[in-house]
């Protein structure tokens, strides 16, 4: 096989897929939650007539529009990359996962795209009721999209409901079993909750920034901080519980992944230790310099101090996932999860003491925690995807047998192009987002408009609209 700088086409294709999907994932992780937040803000505005909610809606919808556009264009790349880089996988798994992805397009992408224009630009044209409906459809569309694609991903992790045909294709036998495969409900709950948590942290972080800049008197800042902190306080503990359940499900169906997450090279017949930190050495099949809590892993995974736990010594070397990556990405995710829990608890205490809007250290913490949702979802995604290796369809189809018959130079060229374009384009996008976030939401309606140029402003942000008629 040809090589470019020591990389073969398989490794290059894997890097390319990992890079493009990791970038893509960041945007929906934010827009899923933000679409719902916008729908809530719009509903509150319609219900109360309180201008602050409309102002916040307008503030966040500009951020939403940019993020959504980046999610769309980076998502289209994914839908074609299955074919360009993973054609053997596509041919084999297409009959099973293709229809699920087609349903994603039909039930979610069109819904989002069809109503996005009305949500962004149509308030005056369709009236408040239909505009609210459009906001809801966009929010529902993002969640439906996540549902289908997570079903696809879960089927690759815990495949069932198919047979293998004479031509080597996976053939669907039972659609219900395929869609509701064993890891799907856990993965869906875990990923959707992560998206809402990520959004809450961003909103809280932006509010934290404005408190620190001396805008603590701004009602908009206060409202969004309070809403965000309620969300974090409720959702962070829920997410830890869901994550634990998801882990137990993984232990049942993909034990090798959990062994890698735990760093258990050896089997432990009477109680496995919880390895807090260590340096995994996969070649030697051992954990170096490990700091352990005896028997705690058995307690967490089996709810029994002395329960036996098998280790990677029961898995042939060629079927083991790369341990170091999984071990570390899992720790990053868990550590951030507990930091989010800490922020939630802290906010509850400050709220109870009546200092939610004046607790400067809480605001600093919220600002620091602002981007951590993105890091946590990426780390979690790396844990589950790398933990599935060396298979694309767990235990059935190997990654090495899934790749397209490509020349290494072709993949290397496209990989470099993707890296350059993504950093340039999405780097600019993030810059625009940060610049929008740097302004507090209180400038009054015209202020928010003027910042973005006359054409856009006049339609998106009508003067003082009456919530019940939509008339200017």
């Amino acid at each position: 096989m040809e090589h470019v700088l020591g990389f073969d086409a398989l490794l290059l294709a894997r890097i390319q897929f990992g890079f493009t999907v990791a970038f893509h994932f960041i945007f929906p992780a934010f827009t899923i939650g933000l679409a719902s937040y916008l729908a809530v803000l719009n509903a509150l505005w319609l219900k109360t007539g309180n201008e602050r909610f409309l102002r916040l809606f307008r503030y966040w919808i500009k951020i939403f529009a940019i993020t959504f556009a980046m999610g769309v264009v980076s998502g289209i790349v994914m839908s074609y990359q299955f074919g360009t880089n993973w054609s053997v996988f596509s041919d084999k798994a297409g009959p099973v996962i293709g229809p699920l992805m087609a349903y994603e397009v039909l039930t979610a992408f069109f819904l989002e795209a069809g109503f996005l224009g009305i949500m962004l630009f149509g308030r005056d044209r369709v009236g408040p009721g239909l505009h609210m409906f459009a906001c809801l459809m966009v929010a529902v569309g993002t969640a439906i999209s996540a549902t289908w694609i997570l079903s696809v991903n879960s089927w690759m992790q815990t495949p069932q409901g198919h047979i293998i045909g004479e031509n080597g294709q996976f053939l669907p036998e039972d659609w219900w079993a395929i869609i509701f495969n064993p890891s799907f409900p856990y993965r869906l709950a875990h990923a959707l909750t992560a998206a809402y948590l990520t959004t809450a942290l961003v909103v809280g972080g932006v509010a934290g920034w404005h408190y620190l800049r001396g805008h603590g008197h701004n009602r908009g800042v206060r409202i969004m901080f309070s809403m965000a902190m309620w969300m974090v306080a409720v959702v962070a503990p829920l997410q830890i519980f869901i994550g634990d359940q998801h882990g137990l499900n993984t232990l049942e169906h993909q034990p090798a992944k959990v062994m890698a997450m735990e760093g258990h090279f050896e089997s432990h017949p009477d109680g496995a230790p919880l390895i807090l930190f260590g340096i995994p050495d996969q070649d030697a099949q051992e954990m170096r310099y490990s700091i352990e809590i005896p028997k705690a892993s058995s307690l967490i995974l089996k709810h029994d101090l002395n329960a036996p736990l098998a280790g990677l010594d029961t898995i042939p070397r060629e079927n083991q996932p790369p341990v170091a990556v999984v071990f570390w990405s899992f720790r990053v995710m868990v550590a951030l999860g507990f930091a989010m829990l800490g922020l939630g608890v802290w906010s509850l205490i400050s709220r109870w003491r009546g200092i939610l809007h004046t607790d400067t250290w809480l605001h600093r913490a919220a600002l620091v925690m602002g981007p951590t949702g993105f890091i946590a979802v990426t780390a979690g995604w790396i844990t589950t995807e790398v933990g599935r290796q060396p298979f694309t369809v767990y235990n059935i189809l190997r990654t090495a047998d899934s790749v397209a018959p490509l020349d290494a130079p072709a993949v290397a060229t496209s990989l470099v192009a993707f890296i350059l374009v993504y950093f340039a384009v999405f780097g600019s996008g993030v810059y625009f987002l940060l610049r929008l976030m740097a302004h507090p939401p209180h400038q009054g309606e015209t202020g928010v408009e003027q910042e973005v140029g006359p054409m856009r402003a006049a339609g998106t942000v009508p003067g003082t609209a009456d919530p019940r008629t939509g008339a200017k």
Binding site: I76, V126, M455
Partner: protein, 343 residues
């Protein structure tokens, strides 16, 4: 069994038709977006560019979704074809995806910066042009045939195979055709000075489009023997001639609509009809192959259970999608107001 025998309800045929339909809808809808993007290059004035972009801002995302349905549908209903065609057209497809990124984000980014607006305008023009060119090259690359190893179910050619004079010609043809769609769209959506200029451009682009259709149509039969037989044997020659005459008739009607009757929306509808005719011609040319002239629709088809599962959803959802897409267009109907704008 093939529907040609006329009696059996054949899911594979239905899916072939649906995917062709999705691609056609994509081509005409994103076609005018991309064409408009290329026409940005010859409209340097800020206020005109703003109006042009505002005319598609609320709908471009929905338009592009048909591309995802085309690709996703091919993956789902004809996984073998998807696995053969995409590696064969690797470079133009990656180029198209990257170009669509620039084009797509430009819609949002150019309103966010004074200093860098020029850069995003160039990204909009370049992204639109490269996306159109790549799509045409991909079509040409498919039409001229791809090298496959049928037993291994895999693409067996090199990664420059797609680049030929023919594929580049089709690429240019698609660029010109998209610009015609864009110009006629703008005749419909704008007025005054901008509309007048688009009228004259539409006519030039119309003539160029017809010329390109002629060149590509005359060239295609000589690419593969199968095409030659299909076009010139038996009754298909009549059909082929009919398509040619119809294209010329449409061109004549378009001239009248543009310059004699000075219609606003007829030129756009006629340009759509022209694309529809080209699609019919393409269908005559390719059917029953999905990878000409190696793999038929039936050989590439997903199992019945997969096609059935999807057709239930598609049957219910596609009419609903068409309804709310039409509604979105209806909401933003009429001329773009250069003073207010709705972006």
């Amino acid at each position: 069994m093939p529907i040609a025998e006329g009696v059996v309800f054949d899911l594979t045929f239905v899916w072939g038709f649906l995917i062709a339909l999705a691609v056609l809808i994509y081509v005409v809808l994103d076609g005018f977006d991309l064409g408009l993007g290329m026409l940005f290059a010859v409209e340097p004035e800020r206020r005109h560019r703003d109006v042009m972009m505002n005319s598609v801002a609320p709908v471009w995302d929905g338009n592009e979704t048909w591309l995802v349905l085309g690709g996703g549908g091919l993956f789902a209903a004809f996984p073998l074809a998807y696995a053969l065609i995409l590696p064969a057209l690797y470079a133009p497809i990656i180029a198209m995806l990257l170009a669509l990124i620039f084009r797509g984000v430009a819609f949002e980014f150019r309103w966010r910066t004074e200093r860098w607006r020029g850069v995003w305008d160039v990204a909009f023009i370049g992204g639109s042009a490269v996306a159109a060119l790549s799509q045409g090259i991909a079509l040409g690359g498919l039409l001229q045939g791809i090298t496959i190893d049928k037993a291994a179910r895999a693409y067996a050619g090199g990664w420059w195979d797609w680049l030929t004079p023919f594929s580049v010609t089709v690429g240019l043809a698609v660029m010109v055709g998209y610009m015609l769609l864009g110009a006629t769209w703008l005749v419909m959506k704008t007025d005054g000075e901008l509309q007048d200029r688009m009228r004259s451009r539409a006519w030039i682009l119309g003539v160029a489009t017809v010329a390109f259709i002629g060149v590509v149509s005359l060239w295609t039969p000589f690419l593969q023997e199968g095409y030659f037989v299909r076009w010139f044997a038996g009754t298909r020659i009549l059909l082929a001639g009919l398509v040619g005459v119809a294209v010329l008739a449409l061109a004549f009607l378009m001239f009248r609509a543009l310059h004699v009757h000075r219609h606003d929306y007829w030129p756009f509808l006629l340009a759509l009809a022209m694309f529809g005719l080209c699609f019919v011609g393409l269908g005559i040319c390719m059917f029953p192959y999905i990878v000409p002239t190696e793999v038929t629709l039936w050989e590439a088809a997903a199992p019945y259970r997969a096609q059935l599962f999807m057709i239930i959803g598609a049957g219910i959802l596609i009419p609903i999608i068409l309804a709310y897409t039409a509604y979105a267009y209806w909401v933003f109907r009429g001329k773009v107001d250069p003073e207010a704008g709705y972006h």
